[in-house]
């Protein structure tokens, strides 16, 4: 494939996160073993895999929330992380407006808060109580909250769980646009095969170990991947086949084979090193 012969442009970016020979053992059970993972600046890496395959554990290990039983994993020194958790269950007894939530782990100005909320289309919610938000609104506010930290690395755990199918594609598009605008690295976990692939530079399929990794196109041809996901993988391959070209924001298809290079033109069109 033309795509895979080009080294991804992102490999030149600063290393933000690394797992090296990572193994995690929880309650006497081996959850992960021999996992290698890197995320660089400007790169979107998606971890997929079956339920119970250790996707979320991998995320927790690189964030320092669970200790490795072997190998190592972690975020590089000086890297600011913006984390979008899978669920955000805040008890109603704790009063909290969206604005106050935006200041939870950062000290942004009101203008910076408005900017970040605007980026995820939630500026009108700034004075709302977080207890009144819908699942989709909460997800977007949480994304804005991570953004207001001006992160080098955005980490998202199953970002579309509370979002309906139409919102799903829009959210992944938003994540890609954010990467283009801010030049940050993105690591996300998803069980969803269809939509996520379109907005991903590199896929890591995890089922206890790394069963395959590469561009979405490469992974879709992998036998173990097809065995793991069965018919779903077929549907995905089909989907990806039809979308073997990228679109710019106006919807114009970019020529096939230029995909890796042109990925960074996505969005406002300026270059990132």
């Amino acid at each position: 494939m033309a795509v895979s012969t080009h080294p991804p442009i992102q490999s030149k970016g600063r290393l933000l996160l690394e797992a090296d020979g990572l193994a995690v053992r929880l309650g006497g059970r081996d959850i992960l073993h021999h996992v290698d993972l890197t995320v660089r600046r400007g790169e979107i890496v998606t971890v997929i895999g079956p339920n119970g395959g250790g996707k979320t554990t991998l995320l927790r290990a690189v964030l320092g929330l669970v200790a490795p039983s072997a190998g190592r994993a972690g975020v590089a020194d000086g890297v600011t992380v913006g984390y979008v958790p899978q669920r955000f269950p805040v008890d109603r007894i704790l009063p909290m407006t969206v604005e106050r939530l935006m200041r939870l782990t950062a000290r942004p100005s009101r203008a910076a808060i408005e900017r970040s909320l605007d980026e995820t289309g939630t500026a009108h919610l700034i004075d709302a109580s977080i207890h009144t938000l819908s699942g989709g609104e909460m997800q977007r506010v949480l994304l804005a909250r991570a953004l207001v930290r001006e992160p080098d690395l955005l980490v998202l755990d199953e970002p579309v769980q509370a979002v309906d199918y139409a919102g799903e594609a829009a959210l992944y598009e938003l994540i890609a646009a954010i990467r283009d605008r801010h030049g940050c690295g993105v690591l996300m976990v998803s069980h969803d095969l269809h939509v996520v692939m379109a907005a991903t530079d590199r896929v890591l399929c995890v089922n206890g170990h790394v069963c395959c990794t590469g561009t979405p196109h490469e992974v879709s041809g992998n036998t173990e991947f097809r065995r793991l996901f069965g018919p779903q993988a077929e549907v995905f391959a089909l989907y990806h086949h039809h979308h073997d070209h990228d679109h710019d924001l106006s919807g114009e298809p970019l020529p096939d084979g230029e995909q890796a290079h042109h990925h960074h033109h996505h969005g406002d069109g300026h270059h990132h090193a």
Binding site: V81, I93, L104, V155
Partner: protein, 268 residues
């Protein structure tokens, strides 16, 4: 008559100053107890503080020091045992609370020479607050409030979502230990006011009553301090007016304020 009036003024003023000092710190700290669903933790430390009284009497120490030593020990023990999986956390708290309370009661019973007014420690006696107690209460309250202000942001972040706070390096683990120590300190200073059995009430009822009028965590903390002060005033008035025990009267006043707060429409 003149001397009588002065005396009355004096012990009432002392009681008032002491109660306000405790309410100002119990309200904001109690918000975290409520937010983190830790009411039982406060209870555990409070029950255990009776052991501190016994130790203080046996060793001839200041009782406040004895209580502080035991509550701090229980706080650190709880922090250390947080990760264990042998028994559930509610069982662990129950074992610590009632174990320490019983050892305290047994130890007190052994001390034949000491005449101990147990009721005063169980329910407090705000009307017997001395000038020295006032120093202890206000000094302690100022320290606890300063400590709480210092860890407020990281503690709140860890309260809202512990994983998020750790992932974003926004809350080092020692913040939790500091919080446990602040509760221990508050119990030691509030014991004289409402007694060990009712301290948790002073932590959680004003905080719960403040919820409806608040839109932010900071607003709720300030409102909880206010509710606590009003409860102290109301409780003291009740106690003086109809000669009821002061500690329980303050808690009854707080309870009335809580029930009244339910009439306020929720603000989010």
């Amino acid at each position: 008559m003149a001397t009588g009036t002065t005396m009355l003024d004096d012990f009432l003023v002392r009681a008032l100053v002491a109660g306000v000092g405790v309410a100002l710190v119990a309200g904001p700290l109690g918000c975290f107890v409520v937010w983190r669903r830790m009411a039982y933790v406060g209870d555990t430390m409070a029950h255990a503080s009776l052991l501190g009284i016994a130790l203080g009497l046996i060793l001839g120490l200041d009782l406040g020091i004895g209580v502080l030593a035991v509550t701090v020990t229980v706080a650190l023990l709880l922090a250390a045992l947080q990760g264990q999986r042998l028994v559930g956390s509610d069982t662990l708290l129950g074992i610590l609370a009632h174990g320490a309370l019983s050892i305290g009661l047994v130890a007190v019973a052994f001390m034949e020479t000491v005449r101990l007014d147990l009721m005063a420690y169980l329910f407090g006696d705000i009307l017997a607050v001395s000038a020295r107690d006032l120093l202890w209460i206000w000094g302690g309250s100022a320290m606890v409030l300063a400590g709480l202000a210092a860890v407020w942001r990281p503690l709140l972040a860890a309260t809202v979502d512990p994983d998020l706070a750790r992932a974003e390096r926004a809350s080092p683990p020692w913040v939790q230990v500091v919080f446990a120590l602040l509760i221990a300190g508050t119990i030691a200073i509030a014991m004289k006011i409402v007694g060990v059995l009712l301290i948790t009430a002073l932590l959680i009822i004003p905080a719960a009553a403040a919820r409806r009028s608040a839109r932010s965590p900071e607003g709720m903390a300030a409102a909880a301090a206010g509710v606590g002060v009003v409860a102290v005033l109301g409780g003291l008035a009740l106690s003086i007016g109809v000669d009821t025990p002061s500690g329980p009267s303050i808690v009854v006043a707080a309870l009335v304020l809580f029930v009244g707060s339910l009439a306020i429409p929720a603000r989010g």
